[in-house]
């Protein structure tokens, strides 16, 4: 045991001529910072493997749209299934867009017939065909185009947020303003706001709205 102790002491480095000081182990430069102490206290969270939130906050859209995306990813939106769980009295739990299935985040933004129609319009616009995941969050994650780079794809994900924002808006209009629902209108408005967001958030945008509508891919590639 003594040898072990001596061994340990001998292996330790002593800095001659310096006073003893503390090291803060939690930080790279070994100096205390309130920030690193705070994170220590908050505990280490398991990092999201799928990076969905990283993708979300990296989009170039309005914070409002990002917050909607955030609430969709967490399934914390006042959809009917969530309202019922929290004890809100409703007349029925059917989706207002299709009047067929129960309303939930995954239904409303993915598997609903109206939503499917909108996503198909989006595919046709690009000239591709893709399979849409029935979970809204997965749908967002896989919303990318193969021959675009990372930055261009994170801009392209703004279109996803534009579509869900329009779906959500129309769902609320149907409920509160008794409006009729029209997938073409939803998609058209999403195209507009996606373009407006890009125009305002990205300085290198030099294509017009009609360029965007007629050839979205070459517009994205120019960024």
């Amino acid at each position: 045991m003594e040898e072990q102790l001596l061994q340990m002491i001998c292996n330790q480095r002593f800095i001659k001529g310096h006073p003893d000081t503390w090291l803060w182990k939690d930080d790279d430069d070994e100096v205390f910072s309130v920030k690193s102490a705070y994170y220590k206290l908050q505990g280490n969270f398991v990092e999201e493997e799928d990076k969905v939130f990283h993708m979300l906050w990296n989009t170039k859209v309005t914070p409002k749209a990002q917050f909607l995306g955030w609430r969709i990813s967490l399934d914390k939106l006042p959809t009917k299934d969530n309202l019922i769980v929290r004890g809100v009295q409703l007349q029925h739990n059917l989706c207002e867009l299709c009047q067929v299935s129960a309303e939930s985040v995954d239904h409303l933004f993915s598997s609903c017939r109206v939503a499917q129609k909108v996503w198909n319009l989006c595919d046709n616009w690009l000239g591709v065909s893709s399979v849409h995941h029935f979970k809204a969050r997965e749908n967002f994650k896989h919303f990318s185009i193969i021959n675009l780079n990372t930055r261009q794809n994170s801009i392209w994900r703004g279109m996803w947020l534009a579509i869900v924002e329009e779906i959500w808006k129309h769902r609320n209009w149907v409920i509160f303003k008794q409006r009729k629902v029209d997938p073409d209108e939803i998609f058209g408005l999403a195209q507009v706001i996606a373009w407006v967001w890009m125009k305002h958030k990205i300085s290198s945008v030099n294509f017009s709205y009609s360029d965007w509508v007629f050839s979205p891919l070459s517009c994205l590639k120019s960024l």
Binding site: N11, L23, V34, F53
Partner: protein, 260 residues
């Protein structure tokens, strides 16, 4: 010299543990006012009890007025989250870096933030959809990155212990060291009941107490001359102290307290 002169009519004289009559004499000689405890020094109230709710009331009121519901109605949730961050990082920081927030006030502040975020009015209650602790996670971990005010307060207070351990000089440090010895006093399980409330609070959040142990786990030693490190009791080699690692050798050591 800048020609700055002391304005005696704005100056106050106070004494700690001194006879009131003596201080009266001083004020007469210096032609200035008598300072009574509690008083405000550098913007911090001194001598009042920060463990009482009333001490924090001005700050709570200020936060509440900044985060009032009529303002929240006009902006989106994203804007409200942003406003919460800015109000919290500015307003109460100065207090929080010196005083420990009592649990009840902490909860009240969180309540104000939560209600504001989810858009509660004075009459209509709304659903808080996401738990507060999840809101406080980082954005990449699915939160909004709003600071948890309780833990932030503790992190700010822990800085005092760090400064006590590592900083060279300072009157504040000399005063504390003459009263309590050194930061080592914080690592005792029980500290004197004559210690000040502030010292007791520091002990509570980052000393050897139920919730304070996290601090020592983050501290390591860079050993130089070895004049400050305790051979057996400090964790200066490996991940634990030598007394924990070699308890039998420690038990027969004749100089358990010695420095390297």
């Amino acid at each position: 010299m800048s020609g700055l002169k002391v304005n005696f009519s704005k100056t106050k004289v106070g004494g700690i543990g001194l006879n009131a009559i003596l201080i009266k004499d001083f004020t007469r000689i210096l032609n200035c006012n008598h300072m009574k405890i509690p008083f405000v020094y550098l913007g911090l109230p001194i001598g009042e009890n920060p463990r009482r709710k009333i001490f924090w009331q001005p700050m709570v009121d200020k936060v509440r007025s900044r985060l009032s519901s009529w303002k929240g109605k006009l902006i989106s949730m994203a804007g409200r989250a942003c406003l919460i961050k800015s109000v919290l990082s500015a307003l109460p920081l100065y207090y929080l870096s010196f005083f420990k927030l009592p649990k009840s006030v902490c909860n009240e502040l969180i309540k104000i933030q939560r209600n504001f975020l989810w858009g509660w009015g004075s009459v209509d209650r709304k659903i808080a959809w996401v738990r507060w602790e999840n809101i406080c996670k980082l954005k990449k971990d699915g939160g909004l990155g709003i600071r948890d005010i309780g833990n932030f307060n503790i992190a700010l207070l822990a800085k005092w212990k760090w400064r006590l351990g590592i900083e060279g000089h300072g009157l504040w440090k000399e005063v504390l060291e003459s009263k309590y010895g050194s930061w080592r006093n914080l690592n005792e399980t029980n500290i004197s009941r004559y210690a000040s409330r502030w010292w007791k609070d520091i002990h509570k959040v980052c000393g050897n107490s139920e919730h304070g142990a996290w601090f020592e786990k983050c501290i390591g030693w860079s050993v130089g001359e070895g004049e400050k490190v305790k051979l057996w009791e400090d964790t200066w080699v490996g991940d634990e102290s030598l007394s924990t690692r070699f308890p039998r050798l420690y038990s027969i050591s004749e100089s358990k307290e010695r420095y390297i």
